[in-house]
Symmetry: C2
Subunit: 222 residues, 2 copies
DNA sequence: GTATAATATTAGTATATCCTAATTAAGGTT
DNA sequence: AACCTTAATTAGGATATACTAATATTATAC
């Protein structure tokens, strides 16, 4: 069995690889708030495991092997099922789930996970709209656009909110930017300026910077 | 925050202290399946913590301080609430809960625990009939007798089953010796021999050795 | 009351994970 | 092409937890 630490590295490498195509030592270190040498050490160990979880090229970075990707998707499945469980069964809000899911994901047996998945009706999305990999690590394909990419006047349904900080999630919830809410871009300031968004849930308008709108996604199948 | 390892030592010392009055190095080592020197090291560390969790006398053993007892009861509360949750919400059987609860108990935030307790209606007993300490570490008083202590012809309601091995629990469940079931001692063989027990749930009779009947408890308030 | 058995501790290592400080490699600039 | 900056690695340690083998202490038994 993998240690919690290795599982966390797997998750991080998976995210970085899918967001930027490549997981460098310092990107991993930043994301996990550990020092660079700790990452180098760990990457060597993960590349030396049987089977190797990553391929590692010194001075370049890491890439998940098929075995590593499968394990990463397992951890992500558990994390997202836990978040869904915390919201649907225990009444957490979407900004409260992350830290608790981060600890529970390393303490879950296969039986626990399958029971939770069944209890929730085998959900395919977590409370932030992220896809939940199935038992075999398969993810559905879906097409979405970032809210930033919409032009003024366009509208759509929020399908995913990839904000990492709980405070941002809490704020978005407060102003009516929740999952599955239809929104319209009223205005888009030039020079990478803020977007003014109307929520059809709350009926209110709010200006949001692009670091935020970049992380809000709209269902592309209008 | 305490490490999982320290939490496990606390639990073990608590149990030994309450069963035998004293936690010796080797009793702790046996119970946790670790080597004696590991225990000595840990006891020193726990006695040196601020505040100390135990008082430790070399060559004698350990005893929980008030602070240590409070922490131990916290862990036991989480463990027993988790077991109750696994049975009532996720459909585990009473023999399946232990290992999973043992891992979850170290990954639970105060919020999670309070939500689970509330979801279950703040239960006071776990699936084995063990008392669940309240938020402040308080346990109800109750009086019970071991099944072994009943004479032939006497009957009572099973209030607690303290079997440690899952296989024993599974077997007891199969033959109808479950919590809250009324049973009668039909026969009690001499020379520490087996007891023949009738279950009014299953309607069947079974001979059980005293290592087992010692760990089955009967409500003393008939 | 000394010899022995049982129990506990110390000594010395190992592993996993993290750190800081010092060094080395890669890539871009003039 | 030598230089400088940035990023990554190596060197050297720290902590928490475990182990085995060797030693010390306590308790028991004659």
């Amino acid at each position: 069995m993998l240690t919690s630490s290795v599982e966390n590295y797997l998750k991080t490498i998976y995210y970085l690889q899918h967001e930027t195509g490549w997981a460098s030592t310092s990107a991993i270190a930043d994301h996990m708030t550990v020092a660079n040498p700790s990452v180098t050490m760990m990457l060597k160990r993960m590349a030396a495991m049987q089977p190797p979880l990553i391929s590692y090229t010194p001075y370049e970075g890491a890439r998940l092997t098929p075995a590593g990707e499968k394990q990463a998707l397992d951890v992500i499945r558990v994390h997202r099922l836990m978040e869904t469980f915390l919201v649907r069964v225990l009444g957490y809000t979407w900004d409260e789930v992350h830290a608790d899911a981060d600890r529970l994901e390393h303490a879950s047996s296969p039986l626990l996970i399958e029971r939770i998945s069944a209890l929730l009706g085998n959900p395919v999305r977590d409370p932030h709209g992220e896809d939940i990999p199935d038992r075999n690590g398969l993810l559905p394909n879906r097409s979405e656009l970032s809210l930033t990419s919409l032009a003024a006047g366009q509208s759509g349904r929020i399908s995913r909110v990839a904000a990492d900080k709980p405070e941002i999630l809490r704020y978005l919830g407060e102003i009516g930017l929740n999952l599955d809410v239809t929104v319209e871009v009223l205005d888009k300031a030039p020079f990478e300026g803020p977007l003014t968004i109307h929520s059809f849930e709350s009926g209110s308008d709010h200006a949001l910077g692009r670091e935020v709108t970049n992380r809000i996604f709209i269902d592309a199948a209008h």
